[in-house]
Amino acid sequence: MQGNRIIGEAAIRAGCRFYAGYPITPQNEIPEYMAENLRKVEGGVFIQSESEIAAINMVAGAASAGARAMTSSSGPGISLKQEGISSMAAQELPGVIVNMMRGGPGLGNIRPSQGDYFQATRGGGHGDYRTIVLAPGTCQELADLTMDAFDLADRYRIPVVLLADGMIGQMMEPVVFKEPKPRQYSADYVLKGAGTGKAKTIKGLILDPLDMEEHNWKLDRKYRVIAAKETRCEIFNTDEADIVVVAYGTAARVAKGAIKRLGDHGIKAGLFRPISLWPFPTEELRRLAGTRKEFFVFEMSTGQMLEDVRLALQGYADIAFHGRPGGVVPTPVELANVIVRQYRRDR
């Protein structure tokens, strides 16, 4: 199945019953899949919205009414959604936002890129907040993480960003959909009319600065729990490695291809692949630095995750970097050659 369509199918299986979105390449197959299939499901709502801004706000409305809701877009559209994502973070509404990254900034191009790492992992909109960010590397992970994203969004009442790129969205791999977990969430915030009880309000405007400060600290406490419990990563082939490549998503696939070739050059290399970008698997990476001293960060950007790697390793290891921004996906051979040159220069 094609990556974008896998996201749609996994979302529906996970109980997503509301999708709003606006066309933008390279993620158009997601709204197309939802248009075709979500409306066939009991209670399923698909809306092609007038804008990205409207889409995220529809998602907020649907989430406040208790639905599992999702929107998807790519770079420029995600920028437009930031107002709504910030609002959802403030109002503690669950929701899933898919970003199939393309080359930027501005309109950029439609090729695969990883330039939205900062935007995704630093909140992205205004104010003191975070979103959980998951970065799938395979079509199978697209399916699994889409389902997990809904669970995490419910568990923490937080917007969850699925951060992939045009390559994973367009490619096809066989995929097995896991059995979705039954939805577990505390529905006490959900609006359905007050019935005979007290009226509920969902708001983000808190005019008293001390109250607003407390709300910020409350969110921060939640983020600390998430940071402690929800990191994910894949560690591959590092036991004997002379050098550890750090890469996520599509870049990690290229890196794995390169690592296999490095053996021919007599270099033992392993891979550290963050799957949760926020929270970043800092501890896991730091543990590796206890025994390995050479790290090589590869991103399809000018170096964004690089900063989180530096923060994690804090000078305890040497970090080299190779970046291809703007929509370029290097080949494993190219990356292997770069790593070989780097490694030999350091010797």
């Binding site: 390449t25 390279p26 439609i110 045009g166 390559m167 367009q170 490619m171 096809m172 791999e173 066989p174 696939r253 290229v254 890196a255 794995k256 291809g257 390169a258 690592i259 296999k260 996906v329 080949t331 494993p332 051979v333 190219e334």
Partner: protein, 179 residues
């Protein structure tokens, strides 16, 4: 074992369908598979290509730095990809419309007059299936019956005439090359 194939031609020649049906067939054979189309802004007329990786182990990168096999349906594609193919690789080209031949000597070239064969069968558009027959004859990655089933699945066509012409075209391509 991991082998990577690039299919390339004009948009509209069915390049993506060739790759997709091949990937589907390989999946049915139990292989690990990735299918990666090159997507662009235009839909028709431009060049289209896709990469299919087939292996019995996890496929790390779906991109082919050095494809093992190359199937080209037009001349620009031959020029674009001929130097990327791995040494000792196999090149399949539609010789009905490509008169050029690669200058490299370290690969095996199979010139298949696919368009002519398809025309003789009465449906010039089936030339891509002729190419697939030749390709699978030589590479043996997917058994003919399994491939034809996959082709029917991904095309979603129940029309008997379409199924019939594709079977004929495939056999013609398959029989054209010696094993």
């Amino acid at each position: 074992m991991i082998v990577k194939t690039i299919f390339s031609g004009f948009g509209g020649q069915g390049v993506l369908m060739m790759g997709y049906s091949f990937a589907h067939g390989a999946m049915s054979e139990g292989y690990e598979v990735t299918y990666l189309p090159a997507y662009g802004a235009e839909v028709r007329g431009g060049t289209a290509n896709c990469t299919v990786a087939v292996g019995d182990e996890e496929i790390a990168s779906p991109i082919a730095s050095e494809p093992d096999y190359l199937v080209v349906l037009n001349t620009p594609s031959l020029y674009t990809f001929q130097n990327r193919i791995a040494g000792g690789g196999l090149l399949f080209l539609n010789s009905s419309i490509i008169s050029a031949r690669p200058s490299r000597q370290d690969m095996e070239v199979f010139a298949v007059p696919a368009s002519d064969i398809a025309e003789e069968l009465g449906n010039a558009r089936a030339f891509n299936t002729v190419m697939m027959g030749a390709f699978l004859k030589r590479t043996s990655l997917v058994k003919p019956e399994i491939y034809l089933k996959s082709l029917e699945t991904v095309m979603g066509s129940k029309k008997k005439a379409v199924v019939e012409i594709n079977r004929k075209a495939f056999s013609a391509g398959y029989d054209f090359l010696k094993a």
